[in-house]
């Protein structure tokens, strides 16, 4: 019996030993939100900024494809994803769905960045001054608020009068869906203005990718902030505000058109590749210009080179295109956030709307001549100039997410071509289904 007793003792001892492991098992894979906002280190803050900048690229290709397809800039053919040619073009009796990737993914990704920015704001609140001085903290908060404003604008672009919600700080209750775009734009401007105020006199210590090359310090970020503000004022038709925002931005009538702020991409580890790049003459996954791109362009306009003629045209679901989109030339190519060419066009638009026709014409000609076209020789009327402006916005900002929004704000959606008898041109995306779940 003694033998068994020892066995029993050992068994019980083992059990007791195991029962002694009492510790909690924490997150083994990633930092957690609760941890990072309490007394963050400098690297914690940097990681949050990098995450925010990086996160702005998530589902961006879905946004650009979606607005590009509805705005009849491109066709997106995919062997695996039918809805680019059905839902988004309104094929058959298809409608835009409120719970499908083309709206839900970019929508969530933009608000996710806003959430990240609020986490950054909370973290800064809890940062000791030894980690970052007050002046340095201001740069973080200014950058965060600028991004929140910009991200909200992209979502407003999609749903427009179907509404958006204003992002709220961590732990706060979500507000209502605001369906008046003017009110939303006021909120966007409020974020941007607060961002500008914080950035003013601040010191940037955090790293940014080379997408922000030339804009990495406080002065540069203010210019970026104001460029976005100029875009918002233009949508609001507040032309004076747009012009004064331009003055504080990196607007340069004679400067390089491509000067501006970009999303950087790379195939490096942990980074994102630019999925807007598809190899020309590919099969299966294809992004071709809408046929009207080539038919409507003025002969000689060098912006035709944003597309290249395919060796063999591509077709799907009764749609055919023969020009590949080559705005982005590799998986490492950047995608613009805002650049000088748009600012020049905003300047032109604001000036013509204020009836400053000569100034507007100068800006228009700056764009025309840069693209191998003769100077503007049409009538100097507002209507004619707006048509000219929209032509230039269409080709200068091709596939940068503008055409659909431009024709919408000038009530010209009806002029967009419908390629198949039952196609539709959608004025806006539906509010995502999840927004009804509250």
């Amino acid at each position: 019996m003694k033998k068994y007793l020892s066995i029993i003792t050992v068994t019980l001892f083992l059990l007791a030993l195991n029962a002694c492991q009492k510790g909690e098992i924490n997150s083994l894979n990633t930092p957690v939100v609760g941890g990072i906002i309490t007394d963050p280190s400098r690297s914690d803050l940097f990681n949050l900024v990098t995450g925010a900048e990086s996160g702005m690229r998530n589902s961006l290709s879905t946004y650009l494809d979606g607005t590009g397809i509805i705005g009849r800039e491109i066709y997106r053919f995919s062997g695996a994803e039918p809805r680019y040619t059905t839902d988004l073009l309104g094929g058959g009796s298809k409608l835009l769905d409120n719970n499908t990737f083309y709206i839900t993914n970019p929508w969530s990704a933009r608000y996710q960045v806003a959430r990240q920015c609020f986490i950054l704001l909370d973290a800064i609140n809890n940062t000791r001054t030894e980690v970052a001085s007050d002046v340095q903290k201001k740069a973080f908060t200014g950058f965060a608020k600028t991004l929140i404003g910009y991200q909200l604008l992209l979502n407003l672009n999609m749903t427009n009068t179907n509404g958006v919600r204003i992002p709220v700080p961590n732990g706060a209750t979500l507000g209502p869906v605001i369906t008046n775009p003017a009110v939303v734009m006021d909120s966007i401007l409020k974020f941007l203005d607060e961002g500008k105020a914080d950035l003013t006199g601040s010191e940037v210590i955090f790293p940014l990718s080379d997408g922000f090359l030339g804009f990495k310090n406080a002065a540069g970020l203010i210019k970026f902030n104001r460029a976005i503000a100029a875009r918002v004022y233009t949508y609001q038709q507040k032309w004076d505000n747009a012009l004064s925002a331009l003055n504080e931005s990196f607007f340069d009538l004679n400067g390089p058109l491509n000067n501006g702020v970009y999303h950087a991409f790379s195939t490096n580890g942990g980074d994102l590749a630019n999925t807007m790049y598809l190899p020309p003459n590919g099969n299966g996954e294809i992004r071709v210009a809408h046929p009207s791109f080539a038919t409507n362009i003025i002969a000689g306009d060098d912006r035709i080179t944003k597309t290249s003629l395919r060796t063999s045209s591509a077709s799907q679901s009764g749609l055919t295109g023969n020009r590949d989109v080559i705005v982005w030339t590799s998986l490492n190519a950047p995608i613009s956030i805002i650049r000088n060419e748009e600012l020049i066009l905003i300047y032109a638009e604001a000036k013509m709307q204020k009836n400053a026709i000569p100034d507007a014409t100068v800006a228009i000609n700056r764009i025309r001549t840069a693209h191998n076209l003769p100077v503007y020789s049409g009538p100097p009327t507002l209507a004619a100039l707006i048509t000219e402006l929209l032509y230039n916005r269409r080709y200068s900002l091709f596939m940068e997410g503008h055409r659909w929004i431009d024709v919408r704000r000038y009530n010209l959606l009806g002029t967009l071509p419908k390629d198949r008898p039952d196609d539709d041109v959608w004025p806006r995306y539906p509010l995502p289904q999840s927004e009804n779940n509250i």
Binding site: F118, T267, N437
Partner: protein, 998 residues
Amino acid sequence: MLLPKSSLLVLLCLCSTLALFAQQNITGKIRDAVSGKPIPGVTVRIPNTNKGTITDADGNYTLAITAGTTSLMVSYTGYKTKTINLTPGNNVINLTLEEDFARLDEIVVTGLATNVKRSNLANAVATISGTELNGVAPAQTFDAALSGKVPGAMITANSGAPGGGISVKMRGITSVFGNSQPLYVVDGIFFNNSSIPAGLNDVTGAATSGSPNNQDNPSSRIADLNPEDIENIEILKGASAAAMYGAKAAAGVIIITTKKGKSGKTKISLNQETGFTKVRHLMGVRTFTPETAADLAGTADNPDPDVQAKRAAYKAQFTEAKNAGKIFDYEKEIFGQTGLVLNTGISLSGGGEKTTFYLSGNRRQENGIVKGTGYFNNSIRLNVDHKVSDRVSVGVTTNYINSSADRGLTNNDNNGVSLGVALSSTPDFVNLFPNALGEYPRNTFASSNPLETRDNMINNEQTNRFVGGGNIEIRLQQSDRSTTRLVGRGGIDYFNFKTAALFPRNLQFEENGLQGHSIQGNTNNTNTNIGGFIVNTFTPNNNLSLTSTAGATLETGYLDNIVTVATNLVSGQSNLDASANTTTRQFRQKYRDNGIFIQEDLSLIDAITFSAGVRFDRSTNNGEYQKYYVFPKGSISWNIAKMDFWKVPGVDNLKLRAAYGQSGNVPPYGSKFTQMLGSNIGGFPGVLVENLQGNPDIKPERQTEFETGLDVSVLNGRISLEATYYNKKIYDVLLRHALPGSSGYATEWKNSGDLRNKGIELGLNLIPVNRPNVRWNSSINWWQNRSKVTKLIIPPYAIGAFGNSLGTFYLEEGQPATQIKGTVNGDLKLIGNAEPDFQMSFFNELTVFKNLSLRFLIHWKKGGDNINLTQLLTDLGATSFDYDDEMKGTKAGLYRPGAGDASIYVQDASYVRIREIGLYYNIPIKNTAILKAIRVGVSANNFFTWTKYVGYDPEVSNFGSNTITTAQTRGSNGLSTGVDVMPFPASKRASFHVGVDF
């Protein structure tokens, strides 16, 4: 060395007993009551002791008994237990055993350390014997062999890819986002059954747009188990039976017992299966004409000159191909291969009085229906049991498994690269075959050339696994009235799982893209479980028996998954460092659960049984990791036929039973945190808040199950009926519920509602003919389940598949949990339900002249809808076999995707299937000096199916069933079966069997 020593010990023991007691030897022969054949292996023992013996090959036994022994108990699996009273002076006892048709004497495990005779069982516990599992028409893997054999379960093959992958759902929907798959316990060891993705998502992008859920469809690890090692399986379907497994038992428990050695002559058994595997069904492809080929470019009335030029080009391409005889059926080309099946097993079992062993080796090798795919499994098992003394016995089970599966590239993808998706848009007139130099033409109709992909890619899973456990049972004290046992049990399950997915840079979809992928994953997983139990049986008199159990258990798990993705590969290389870019991802998870329990069983005049118990469980996955959650259970059964007043002749079993129990389902690892995922830019490391919000207050789901039933057997067990009704409720259902996207989170973990499953299970066992030369037994099972979301404290929401426009699972209060909703003319409407109306299985075994037997299993699933996106993709790719049929005034293939009606692709997936059919013959042997038996047989597995479902097979699941969540993608949920997106087609197999026993 060991053997002589132990025999010496036996001898010594024998001598000592001889010296101590006056004793006598009882001898005899035991035969079958009907056939008169001797039965080997029958246990003859003295009641309430460890003393006993086993009959030899000729049914003979000899047992030394001490003076004062008044009775002997004779038992054998499948026969009725007999107790015989000894009369002094009579030393020769020959007897016959009657077959236990209704399996009333079968011992069923009900607690962690206790068991009960089936005639007193309060639950409907399904039992599958080794023969039923594997003896009709063996399936490729263990999990597939369960199909159609478990009443109350919904078993679905996720994919036809070699290496398994099966979803088992017991009694409806147990959990939506928690674990929905049963716990597998093999000889007391918790056997890990996770599915670990290989990272194919990096190539397919499947989880990038429509759904965040992983669609790699990896195999499930339970498939590693060698079915030939299995002695029997007991299935505890819900909380009322499985409550003693506590917070792991919500989805049911499958208790697997492997074969053990028997003392006596060493038995060597050799089995060889040789067969082939073929695709079960091909959908067929569209036959083009010059006009339909031209239509691929656009309609004939399209004014665009480009379109017209392209039409002409396609027409010319078609005509040229047709004239050259180069019209190809690529579906057949890819999925039409016949694979060779080789399965060799050898086992050795035997032992002495004290030590018995079972040693087996198995090698299964088979090629898939797609070139380059296949499955290879090697398994070795050694089980040893040893009696240290009359009071102490120990047992050890060990199992080493090495398996390798090449699974091809199938299922959903967003890049047009998987075989099926590429096929769906490839018409028959394009030539994809390599030229004389081995160069594959580019497929102008898809992103990839599926023939090139098939011939050059690798998707391999390699498992090295060791599973070992031990148990010790000590009889602490024993008296006439009570026995106290101490049972200790522990086990470890370790595996290393290596995945390698290689896509060379010269593939069509790689050459201008990322220029090759080499994705190598390495996962180490260790699970341990240990438990100790004290069992006291107190029998104050023959009419009353009380069993008390107390115990404690502890389980731990640690999984470490590292996946490295290399792109831009050095030509011809697969090494990770032979590349321009690499990304490494790591995902770890760890848990520790422990529980304590007590249980009391009471048996009255062997006819009435009460049982009650309570278990306390905690887990580090819970928000409150130190809190014990309480799970009670109770049951009662009354076997009226055993009462004194019962005088109805012919009715030998009439039992009423009821059981109630609770169990839990711990939240998945990590659900209490909001993670910050890596997100880099510009060479800087960044973290980005995950769109899944954690919940620090998360707690386990709680299941309560009430089960009641009636068991009747008449005509000496030749007709027996088991009828069960259950009502299973799940409270605090763990949901990843949708948040408004504007919160910055897409979903949040929350205990957010209640579910209910009600169902009926009927089982009828018949032995219509039982004569020495002809015997027919038959069992019919019928079952149905109805699930319902009884409470939802969050708004209804879509939880699965690919969005409303293609049909989605939709959780809504008051509606079935399995309902499918979708957009019909702009409105969200109910368009289907994945739950079958009922299922039925019909098993028959016909034996003539003792040696020839025919066995078959028919399985009928009535109702239950699939979301058939395979058909959608072939319609969009204009390759559906019925594309040109007329539907609503236009071509079917045009009408279906454009109708704006999601219900078109939500389709009834009913089927009737001959799951297994086998004909076996035992060759009678005269000279038994060396050979004991030779068996030959032919079998067919899943060979015949009747269904109206359009697709490769009605059994399918794009999302798998227990895929783990990793750094990149979300795991499976409990509802997503039945989503059909270009799967690896299911296969059927036929085999020839030879078995020899020495």
